[in-house]
């Protein structure tokens, strides 16, 4: 159990290990804490789909083909509200713009020289917030030629297992008792807060962390339609500039003084 709370460490790298080995190592990520938290969220999702009048087959189809949980919640909200196809598309696509920088910040770490673009396009489908956190934390510990296999093992297994969870729990689990549901809901943000801070490998990540956490709720009040985009692009850029021209410059200056 304790292992679940620690970072999920792949075994020590070894050149003789095959891609299959790393694919299986990625699959083992199913038993990491972020994956288990996501699974409880999908049990909650199937109850939400049932309550909203979405049939089981559509909920299952949606789980695999959309995969990002917030996008699905919006889609269901719009569908049950009787919105048109164009309106649904617009609402979902606005909520999913964040996928672009998330994927773009994983791809340079994941690919190796010969990785074909079609394979990256295919695997990008499995990137959502949980897989992003998992990959940011673990992928650099995997030998580069095996990283694509490692992520494929993790991402595809996680999506398939959660699709199965929605199929099985639909109608079987009506809802958790309020206290349990509240605590389970809270698991996701508090886990992300601690683990993203703990595994930041560059000062810019911690600055962007603070900007995002303060800016998110603030901009939700000021500009609820595009808050996440403002905080991401505007706040993320400010965090980057602050890191580059203040934090790193100071560090360089300090290192320079140390030498002199």
């Amino acid at each position: 159990m304790l292992e679940l709370f620690c970072r999920f460490r792949p075994m020590v790298s070894d050149k003789s290990k095959t891609r299959l080995y790393w694919f299986l190592a990625g699959m083992r990520g199913l038993f990491s804490l972020p994956s288990l938290i996501l699974m409880t969220s999908f049990v909650g999702f199937s109850a939400f789909a049932l309550e909203s009048g979405i049939p089981r087959s559509e909920a299952v189809f949606m789980t695999f083909i959309v995969w990002a949980l917030p996008a699905k919640m919006i889609l269901i909200g719009m569908m049950t509200g009787g919105a048109s196809l164009a309106a649904c598309f617009l609402a979902v696509t606005l909520s999913s713009v964040r996928m672009m920088p998330m994927v773009a910040s994983i791809v340079p770490e994941m690919r190796s020289k010969g990785t074909p673009v079609w394979l990256l396009l295919l695997l990008s489908h499995f990137i959502a917030i949980t897989a992003w956190v998992f990959a940011s934390q673990n992928i650099h510990q995997v030998p580069r030629p095996a990283r694509v296999a490692y992520f494929a093992g993790f991402g595809m297994t996680l999506a398939l297992v959660n699709t199965l969870i929605v199929f099985l729990s639909y109608g079987a689990v009506s809802a958790f008792p309020p206290l349990v549901a509240g605590v389970l809901f809270f698991l996701t943000p508090v886990y992300f807060i601690a683990s993203i801070w703990a595994t930041a490998r560059h000062s810019v990540v911690r600055i962007a962390f603070v900007v995002g956490i303060v800016g998110g709720p603030l901009f939700a009040l000021i500009e609820p339609e595009f808050d996440i985009l403002y905080v991401g692009i505007g706040g993320g850029t400010l965090a980057y500039l602050f890191d580059r021209y203040v934090v790193r410059r100071k560090r360089l200056a300090a290192a320079g003084e140390g030498k002199a």
Binding site: F5, C6, G44, M62, I65, A68, K72, L75, L85, C88, F89, V92, T93, S96, M99, M102, V103, A104, S105, I106, V107, P108, R111, V117, L121, S124, I127, V133, P178, L179, A181, G182, F185, F186, L187, P189, V190, Y191, F192, I193, A194, W197, V204, V205, F209, V211, G212, V214, G215, G216, P217, F219, A220, D227, V231, G235, G236, Y240, D243, R244
Partner: protein, 111 residues
């Protein structure tokens, strides 16, 4: 044909609407070097986005936590993070303290 419509609807308004951005992410990320300034910027934007979404879950929750007081959620998350820092950044401590405080708070106000 009629019974296929919901699936076409989900594929267009759900799948295309999200995977479109994932594909753009691949095309953009494929040009980035891991140690470049552009990559640091993208990482910064992605982190700010993820943390904004995360903070909104605490401040504006949906469902079971919607009725709970804001100070309780902020207190549980904040003290948990403080415990996490004090304990030498042990994720288990941060998560555990936050959840215990929230559960105790919810129980105390009778939810």
């Amino acid at each position: 044909m009629q019974e296929l419509w919901p699936y076409v609807f989900i594929a267009v308004a759900g799948w295309l609407a999200t995977d479109f951005w994932r594909w753009l992410g691949v095309l953009a990320g494929n040009r980035l070097r891991e140690d470049s300034e552009a990559f640091y910027w993208v990482r910064s934007v992605a982190t700010a986005l993820v943390m904004a979404v995360t903070a909104k879950l605490v401040v504006f929750p949906t469902g079971a936590l919607e009725a709970s007081p804001l100070w309780m959620r902020l207190g549980a998350a904040g003290l948990g993070f403080a415990a996490f820092l004090v304990s030498g950044q042990r994720v288990a401590v941060g998560v555990g303290v936050s959840l215990v405080l929230l559960a105790a708070g919810l129980y105390a106000i009778g939810q």
